[in-house]
Symmetry: C2
Subunit: 460 residues, 2 copies
């Protein structure tokens, strides 16, 4: 029987002094005259197994020729290791070469820059750093599903192809089956009635509107899927394709929403701390010193709740020369975010934002100036989630749409949700990559997405 | 405190004779002169609660005016019901109207056709049928994640935007940020270098190729995400957007793959039977008689494994006049699929298919005529999964690509996986909607997708 290396680590005693078979890849190979050491990893666990062999083996010389990157099946006996930092080692008895690897294999046992590894996107999960990052990605995704399913939310697959143009179509990719070089024309314009859907379709930037319609049936729903932006922006935090989580909850006000956001985030962080111990330890040592402590502190903290107005007051009273002057009618800048999370030494929910800088579907507060929106600011990560109570009043929503130039006909069904048994309800969005940047300490969004898409970059 | 109706059903005794508060919607309202009955549902559970009120309430007359679809907060006392088929009922003490609903509300307490409800996609999850279907969808999705995560597969978010054109670009949607009516031209052709990615990009039809690259790092991975086809086909089983699960496993041959497929499917079906009891019971009664028994039988069965050649033999020996003549070199038809699952009275893995009807990346068997592919045929559902051992030999893969006209430069990185420590490996794909059709008994793919996209149909 073939063992996963993960199983060996889980039950070392069971396998000790037994002959076992492993299948995996050579990460490193150090050869000496009469023996050699192979760092062997099968990807099922962060750590690998050290293989030891010596010249009593009949094929000693062939083994010494094995190169980094080779795929092998190995048989050997698991033995207690004489080394202090290593529980066991495998004494090789026989092996089979499953797949060779040439000298010019790009992933060598040395320090590669992240920029170089980005260009080797299809090979980089074989390195320690990306092996850790993408396993944390998988575990964090499961944590999110577990949190919502345990709390009986319905997972909704909202459509990616859409004609509902809610954030402005210039932010969405158009999709088509037409031949660009032979476009059907009518009256000097492209005849979109000839396209597969008979009209212009897009790939979506949000599942929120569709999510709300399901919240009006199930009370509690969440989405978790890919999302797209056409933003022509080359920063560390922007990508054209990323994953979002968008829960919507009927009969839920802004305070209820903050309760959910706080509980969910703590659940996810705790889950990752428990299920990705080796990976978090690695990131703590080599990516962000103090990462583990930062995450543990978040789980133990009580998130502060404060209004935008109160934040502006604190910023004004601070003895700091701001680049951007704090203002009740303006967004808060990165420098303000940083200050306010340091001021409270923990995560901060900022509520009741000026309505003119927020989206059209947010509920306008009684003051007529602010909306019932909430952003969660987290130390070292900035804005991690954004949510709001949604405008549940049909007439008020129509008024906001007119003020903000939203075309009614593409969202008429969405508005109708207010006519057909609408109720007060709230929802939020969390960019999954922003969470991962926080969880791993890796700063660049390109390094937490398996195959990142950014302007000018769509390889693989 | 506000209760979810689900909680009441889970712990009836705890709430019996207590005053409770619920929030939800009126599904039906039967009025009599001195009292009335409201079918009340909050979406957290398949079943609702029957509310009883009488004319001792001060606002009796207003209550009688409440229409189907209204959103309410209700207070009342939970009482044992005199009715046999109902464990409890709520004796109303007070209510608050959260959102009204007009007479022309499309979802009335009567039988609507599925065609009509398809046109009300944003309201149909409020009906019994779609309430059941989309909760089963959510639960089945969780079952899939649980199976793979428990077995330590890494969940990989393969990219949706891609330039890797592996199945033929005419089957993929093109995406663009260019303005169709002002396309930049160069030498009489559209200048795609001006597009956001600097070249033609698509939304993908598979995550398999990218998945394989991660399997070469983690041994066991799976994808679960949206997938797109441009097929201009209006059948009950085709949609232009659907969800796929695509696991890839290193050091896994075709037998190993079938073990995984069988174990996974049984896990998912068992999980749904356990976690969606009310929904399965409803579908069993109103959608497909015998559904529950069908699913239980699958879990208890041992899947048959048989080659394509053996299947053709059985078909030839059958005393049936086939519309399509069984042939060693041809695909098997729907009529054959049906016969063979009835013949074995259970699920059948059909292996070793003629190479000319299968994909270029499948491993050619030693006979030079067949590939190590496997389709799972399930009684009443046809083909539920398709998989294969992947060609791991670089030269053989190149040869197949030349024969089948696959352009090398777009998949060179994929081929390189064979050079850099490649190994024998396998994977399969399962269309999530096909599974849901099997799990619910609903025949049309448009009725298991929240907002289906088919040719000419992209509303909402």
């Amino acid at each position: 029987m073939i063992q996963d290396i993960r199983d060996i680590y889980q039950e070392v005693e069971k396998f000790m002094d037994q002959e076992i078979t492993l299948q995996g890849w050579i990460r490193n190979h150090r050869k000496q005259k009469e023996f050699g050491f192979i760092d062997f990893n099968d990807g099922t666990y962060f750590k690998g197994v050290q293989i030891i062999y010596d010249n009593t083996l009949p094929d000693f010389e062939e083994i010494q020729k094995l190169r980094v990157g080779c795929a092998l099946t190995v048989k050997g006996t698991l033995k207690k290791s004489p080394k202090e930092n290593q529980a066991f080692e495998l004494h090789l008895s026989s092996y089979q070469l499953e797949g060779d690897c040439p000298e010019d294999y790009p992933i060598q046992p040395k320090r590669h820059t992240r920029e170089f590894l980005r260009e080797q996107a299809y090979l980089r999960p074989r390195t320690n750093l990306f092996g850790a990052v993408f396993r944390i990605r998988s575990i964090a995704a499961m944590a999110i599903h577990e949190y919502f399913q345990k709390n009986h939310y319905v997972y909704v697959h909202t459509p990616l192809i859409t004609t509902t143009d809610c954030e402005g179509s210039d932010q969405m990719f158009k999709i088509t089956t037409l031949d660009f070089n032979h476009l059907p024309m009518v009256d000097g314009h492209v005849d979109l009635s000839k396209d597969l859907f008979g009209k212009q379709a897009y790939i979506t930037g949000t599942g929120q509107l569709h999510g709300e319609s399901f919240a009006m049936a199930y009370k509690k729903i969440y989405t978790f899927g890919p999302t797209f932006r056409t933003e022509n922006s080359n920063t560390k935090t922007h990508a054209n394709e990323f994953w979002m989580i968008e829960p919507e909850i009927a009969f839920c006000d802004l305070d209820g929403l903050m309760d959910i956001e706080e509980e969910m985030l703590k659940y996810v962080v705790s889950y990752v701390l428990e299920h990705a111990q080796e990976e978090i330890a690695f990131c703590d040592s080599f990516v962000e010193k103090g990462l583990k402590q930062k995450l543990e502190k978040l789980v133990a903290s009580k998130f502060v709740r404060i209004t935008h107005h109160e934040v502006v007051d604190i910023l004004k009273k601070a003895n700091i020369k701001w680049e951007f002057t704090p203002d009740d009618n303006e967004d808060i800048a990165k420098e303000h975010e940083r200050y306010i999370t340091e001021y409270f030494d923990g995560p901060v929910f900022i509520t009741n934002w000026p309505k003119d800088i927020k989206a059209w579907y947010m509920k306008v507060n009684d003051d007529g100036k602010t909306v019932a929106a909430v952003d969660l600011e987290v130390p070292g990560a900035g804005e991690l989630m954004g949510g709001s109570q949604r405008e549940e009043n049909y007439d008020k929503l129509q008024k906001r749409m007119k003020e903000m130039g939203i075309e009614e006909d593409v969202v008429d069904w969405y508005c109708n949700l207010r006519r057909f048994g609408g109720c007060y309800h709230s929802g939020f969005g969390m960019g999954f990559e922003r969470l991962l940047i926080y969880l791993t300490g890796v700063e660049n969004i390109r390094d937490v997405i398996p195959f990142p898409r950014t302007p000018g970059n769509c390889d693989y």
